[in-house]
C-alpha cells in the first residue's frame, strides 16, 4: 500500500461519509415532518414518503464517487495499483465537491422537503409542485457530482 492509495481512500471515505451524513440529516428532518403529517392523515403515506426520500440522493452520489475511486485504484474488484502521492491527492480533491456539496445540500434539501410535506398535508394535490421545488435544491449536489466525476476522469492513473 502506497501513500497515494491512502490519500485516495481518504477521499473516497469523505465522499461517502460526508454526503451520507448530509442525506441522513436531511431525510431525518423531512421524516419528522412526515411522521407528524401521517398521524393526522395516514392516507397521504405514498406522497409524503416520496418527498421524504428526496434528500436521500446526496448519499447515493457520494457513495457513487467512492465506488468509482475505489474501482479506479483497484481496491475493489482488482489488485491495488501503486499510485503516487500526487495521483492520490488528485483523487482526494476529486471527491471534495460531492462530499461538501452533498453534506450541506442534503441538510437544506431536507428542510425544503419538510416544508413541502407540510404543504402536501394541507393541499395533497400540490405534492408534485413540492417535489419540483425540493428537486431544485438537489441541482447543486448534481453539479458537485458532475465536477467530482470530471476531476476523477482527469486524474490519469
Amino acid at each position: 500500500m502506497t501513500t497515494g492509495l491512502v490519500y485516495a481512500l481518504f477521499g473516497a471515505g469523505l465522499a461517502a461519509g460526508l454526503a451520507g451524513i448530509g442525506s441522513a440529516i436531511g431525510v431525518a428532518i423531512a421524516g419528522k415532518s412526515a411522521a407528524g403529517v401521517l398521524s393526522e392523515k395516514p392516507d397521504l403515506f405514498g406522497r409524503v414518503l416520496i418527498l421524504q426520500a428526496l434528500p436521500g440522493t446526496q448519499g447515493i452520489y457520494g457513495f457513487l464517487v467512492a465506488i468509482l475511486i475505489m474501482a479506479k485504484i483497484g481496491m475493489i474488484g482488482g489488485t491495488p495499483i501503486a499510485i503516487t502521492p500526487a495521483q492520490g491527492l488528485g483523487l482526494f480533491a476529486a471527491s471534495m465537491p460531492i462530499a461538501i456539496a452533498g453534506l450541506l445540500s442534503g441538510i437544506y434539501q431536507g428542510k425544503m422537503a419538510a416544508a413541502a410535506i407540510a404543504m402536501t398535508a394541507k393541499k395533497p394535490t400540490m405534492s408534485a409542485r413540492g417535489m419540483t421545488m425540493t428537486a431544485i435544491v438537489e441541482t447543486y449536489a448534481i453539479l458537485g457530482l458532475l465536477v467530482s466525476v470530471l476531476m476523477y476522469v482527469a486524474v490519469a492513473i
Binding site: 426520500a53 436521500g56 447515493i60 452520489y61 468509482l68 409542485r129 457530482l145
Partner: protein
C-alpha cells in the same frame, strides 16, 4: 389538442327533471356550472350511506382478501339493486343489534358473577333480605387485620356475622342486627370500616345462582356465535351492498344538482365539448323530450379546458395537470411534452434489464390490478417508458449493471464480430455522455421556444415571436456551432457562423425587448436586461447534466451490487444463496430509487426548463357530471 368548449342550456318539462339529470350523468359529457370534486350531502343521505358502509365493513370481515379484486356490476344489477340490498341490510342490522345486545348482557353477567363470588356461601336469597321486618342484614367486606376484633365486639353486642369467604386482604360476609339497635350497629360498622356492597337481587340462594348465571352466559355466547355465523353466510353477498352504496351515492349526488325553473320547464346550464354535442343530442332525444340552447360566452368568463389526445399522450396529461391545467386559449403542450418526458425518462433509467423489469412489472400491474385514475396514468407512463430505457440501455451497453453489447451479438451472427452498439459509456468515459446530455437539453429548450413562437403566432404578435422565440433559438444554435468549431480544427468556419447567429439573436433582443417601454433610455436598458437572460439559459442547459448524473448513479449502484454479490458468492455452502439475496435486494432498491429519481427529475426538467419558456396554464379541467364509484370498478352496459 385542446377542444373548444361551449356553454349550453338544456330545457325539459318539469316532470322530466329526474330523467334529464340521470341521462346527463349517464352520458358523461356535460359539465355542471357549479362543479364540485366532493359533493356535500344532507345528513339524512349521508346517514343512509354510512349505514351501507357499516354493512360492507361488517361483511367484508368474513370475506377472503384478494389482491387482484375487480368488482363489476351489470347495468340491470346496478339499477335494481335497491330491493335486495335493503333486505340484506335489514338482516344485517337485526343480527348486529342482537349481537350487540347479547354482548352487552354478557358484560353485565360477567360483572355480576365477579361481585357475587365472595358471597356464595351466604345461606339466604338476596331478595328475601328486603322482606325482613325486625332485623336488617348488611352484606359487605372488612379488612382482615380488623376482623378478629370486629367479630368479638359484634358478638359481644349481640349482632351476628356470617362469614362467606376470605382472601388475602378482606373477609366477606353478612352482618345482621336488630333494628332497635340500629345506631349502635352502624357505629360499629363505621368504626371498623366495614364496606357495604349492594348485590343484584335474586330469588334463589347465591350458591344455586352461579350455575344459572354461567348457563345464560354460555347461552348468549352461543347466540352470538350463531348470529356471527349468519353474517358470515351473508358475506358472499357483500358485493350487492357495495353496488348499492355506489348506486345510492350517485342517486344522492343527482338529488343535489341545482336546476333553474320557470312555470313549466326546468333548465340546467353547463359546459360541453363542441365535438360531443351532436352525439349527446342524438342519444338524449331518443329518450327525452327536451330543448338545447347554446349560450354566448363573454371574454372574462373562465372556460374549462378539454383536451383530446391519443392514448399515449393522455397518460402524460396528469403530469402537466400537476403543474397547471392548460388555459383554453393556448396550444396544448401535452403532445410535445409527452414525447420528451418519455425519452428523458428512458435516458435516466438507461438499462436494458431495468427497462424489461418496468415493462413486465407495470404491464402485469395494469392488467391484473386494474388501477384507476392517476395511479393508472403513472403505471402506463412507466410501462411506456420501458421502451426508451431498453433502447438507451442498448446504446450504453448496460444490463443490470453488467456490460452487454447487443451489437456484438448481432455482429457475430452476420460475420462482423467488431460491430458494436455501445455508443456512450457514462462510467468509463463520462464526457461524451455529458455533451450528449447538454445537447439534448438544448434541443429540449429549442422545442419549448418553438412552442412559444406558435403561441405568439396565435396572438399574431410578430415582435414577440422575434424577441422571445427566434432570438434565443439563434443564440442557442450559435453557441452550439461555436462549440463545434472550437473543438474540431477542420470545422473552424462553424464557429464564425455560430458567432454571427448568436450576434443576430442578441441584436434582436437588444432592440425588441423594450418594445413596450417608452423613451429611448428605458428601451435600451430593457434590451440589456433581456440579454442578461443568457445566464438563466446557461443554468437551464447545465441542469440537463442530471441526465448524466442519474444514468451514472443507476449504472454504478447496479455495478456495486453485482460486485457485492460476487464477493459473498465466495462464502462456502451458503455463498450462492447469499449472493442471490444481495443481488435481489440490491437491484430492487436500485430499481425503485431509479424510478423515483427519474420521475422527480424528469418532472423538474419539464416544469422548469421546458414549461418555463412558454407555458401559461391557469385553466381548469373539463370534468363532466358522471358516475363516481367508491367500490365498483366498472358497469357492464351490454349483457
Amino acid at each position: 389538442m385542446i377542444v373548444p368548449v361551449k356553454k349550453v342550456r338544456l330545457l325539459a318539462p318539469q316532470s322530466e327533471r329526474e330523467a334529464l339529470i340521470k341521462l346527463i350523468q349517464h352520458e358523461n359529457k356535460f359539465m355542471l356550472f357549479d362543479h364540485q370534486e366532493e359533493v356535500s350531502l344532507p345528513s339524512d343521505l349521508s346517514q343512509h350511506l354510512k349505514r351501507i358502509e357499516r354493512g360492507v365493513e361488517e361483511l367484508s370481515k368474513y370475506e377472503k382478501k384478494k389482491f387482484f379484486s375487480f368488482h363489476e356490476a351489470s347495468r340491470s344489477e346496478f339499477e335494481k339493486v335497491e330491493h335486495e340490498a335493503e333486505r340484506l341490510l335489514n338482516e344485517i342490522d337485526e343480527n348486529l343489534t342482537l349481537i350487540e345486545k347479547k354482548k352487552a348482557d354478557n358484560v353485565g353477567l360477567v360483572k355480576d358473577i365477579a361481585s357475587l363470588k365472595p358471597y356464595l356461601n351466604i345461606s339466604v336469597a338476596t331478595k328475601a333480605l328486603n322482606r325482613l321486618v325486625k332485623t336488617r342484614i348488611v352484606i359487605g367486606y372488612i379488612a382482615r387485620i380488623n376482623f378478629d376484633e370486629f367479630l368479638k365486639e359484634a358478638n359481644d353486642k349481640g349482632h351476628i356475622f356470617e362469614e362467606s369467604s376470605r382472601d388475602e386482604e378482606f373477609v366477606y360476609g353478612a352482618f345482621g342486627y336488630e333494628l332497635v339497635y340500629e345506631n349502635q350497629a352502624i357505629l360499629l360498622l363505621n368504626s371498623y370500616r366495614f364496606k357495604e356492597q349492594t348485590l343484584p337481587l335474586f330469588d334463589t340462594k347465591l350458591s344455586e345462582l352461579l350455575p344459572e348465571l354461567n348457563a345464560s352466559l354460555a347461552d348468549n355466547e352461543a347466540i352470538i356465535k350463531e348470529k356471527e355465523g349468519a353474517l358470515k353466510a351473508l358475506s358472499n353477498k357483500v358485493n350487492v351492498l357495495r353496488t348499492y352504496y355506489d348506486y345510492s351515492y350517485n342517486k344522492a349526488v343527482r338529488s343535489q344538482v341545482k336546476t333553474g325553473q320557470t312555470e313549466r320547464v326546468v333548465y340546467i346550464e353547463g359546459w360541453m365539448r363542441e365535438d360531443q354535442i351532436d352525439t349527446f343530442k342524438a342519444s338524449l332525444s331518443q329518450k327525452l323530450d327536451y330543448d338545447f340552447e347554446e349560450l354566448s360566452v363573454n371574454d372574462e368568463e373562465l372556460v374549462p379546458t378539454a383536451t383530446k389526445n391519443n392514448v399515449f399522450v393522455q397518460q402524460f396529461e396528469s403530469i402537466t395537470n400537476m403543474f397547471s391545467v392548460p388555459s383554453h386559449k393556448e396550444i396544448d403542450p401535452n403532445p410535445v411534452m409527452s414525447i420528451w418526458y418519455w425519452i428523458i425518462f428512458g435516458i435516466m433509467m438507461g438499462d436494458i434489464g431495468y427497462g424489461l423489469a418496468m415493462l413486465v412489472f407495470f404491464t402485469l400491474f395494469i392488467k391484473y390490478k386494474r388501477p384507476k385514475g392517476q395511479l393508472r396514468n403513472l403505471a402506463m407512463i412507466f410501462a411506456f417508458s420501458s421502451v426508451p430505457s431498453i433502447i438507451f440501455g442498448i446504446f450504453t451497453g448496460s444490463l443490470f449493471g453488467f456490460t452487454f453489447d447487443l451489437g456484438k451479438v448481432f455482429g457475430s451472427w452476420f460475420g462482423n464480430p467488431n460491430f458494436s452498439l455501445i455508443l456512450l459509456q457514462p462510467v468509463d468515459d463520462p464526457l461524451p455522455m455529458l455533451i450528449f446530455s447538454l445537447g439534448l437539453g438544448i434541443l429540449h429548450i429549442i422545442t419549448a421556444l418553438v412552442m412559444k413562437i406558435l403561441n405568439e403566432a396565435r396572438k399574431k404578435d410578430i415582435l414577440a415571436i422575434l424577441a422571445d422565440g427566434v432570438s434565443w433559438i439563434l443564440i442557442l444554435l450559435g453557441a452550439v456551432f461555436a462549440a463545434i468549431g472550437l473543438m474540431s480544427p477542420t470545422l473552424k468556419i462553424m464557429s464564425t457562423i455560430g458567432l454571427v447567429l448568436a450576434g443576430l439573436g442578441a441584436l434582436l433582443i437588444l432592440f425588441l425587448n423594450g418594445r413596450s417601454k417608452k423613451g429611448i433610455i428605458s428601451k435600451g436598458l430593457s434590451g440589456l436586461g433581456g440579454l442578461y437572460g443568457v445566464t438563466s439559459y446557461l443554468s437551464d442547459v447545465l441542469s440537463y447534466s442530471r441526465l448524466l448524473a442519474l444514468s451514472l448513479s443507476t449504472a454504478v449502484i447496479a455495478f456495486t451490487m453485482n460486485l457485492l454479490a460476487g464477493m459473498v458468492a465466495g462464502v462456502p455452502i451458503v455463498g450462492i444463496l447469499l449472493a442471490i439475496v444481495v443481488y435481489l435486494i440490491g437491484h430492487v432498491f436500485n430499481f425503485v430509487m431509479g424510478l423515483l429519481s427519474a420521475y422527480v427529475h424528469d418532472g423538474r426538467l419539464q416544469y422548469l426548463e421546458f414549461f418555463g419558456k412558454f407555458y401559461e396554464g391557469g385553466g381548469y379541467e373539463f370534468a363532466p357530471f358522471a358516475y363516481k364509484f367508491k367500490y365498483l370498478d366498472a358497469i357492464k352496459e351490454n349483457e
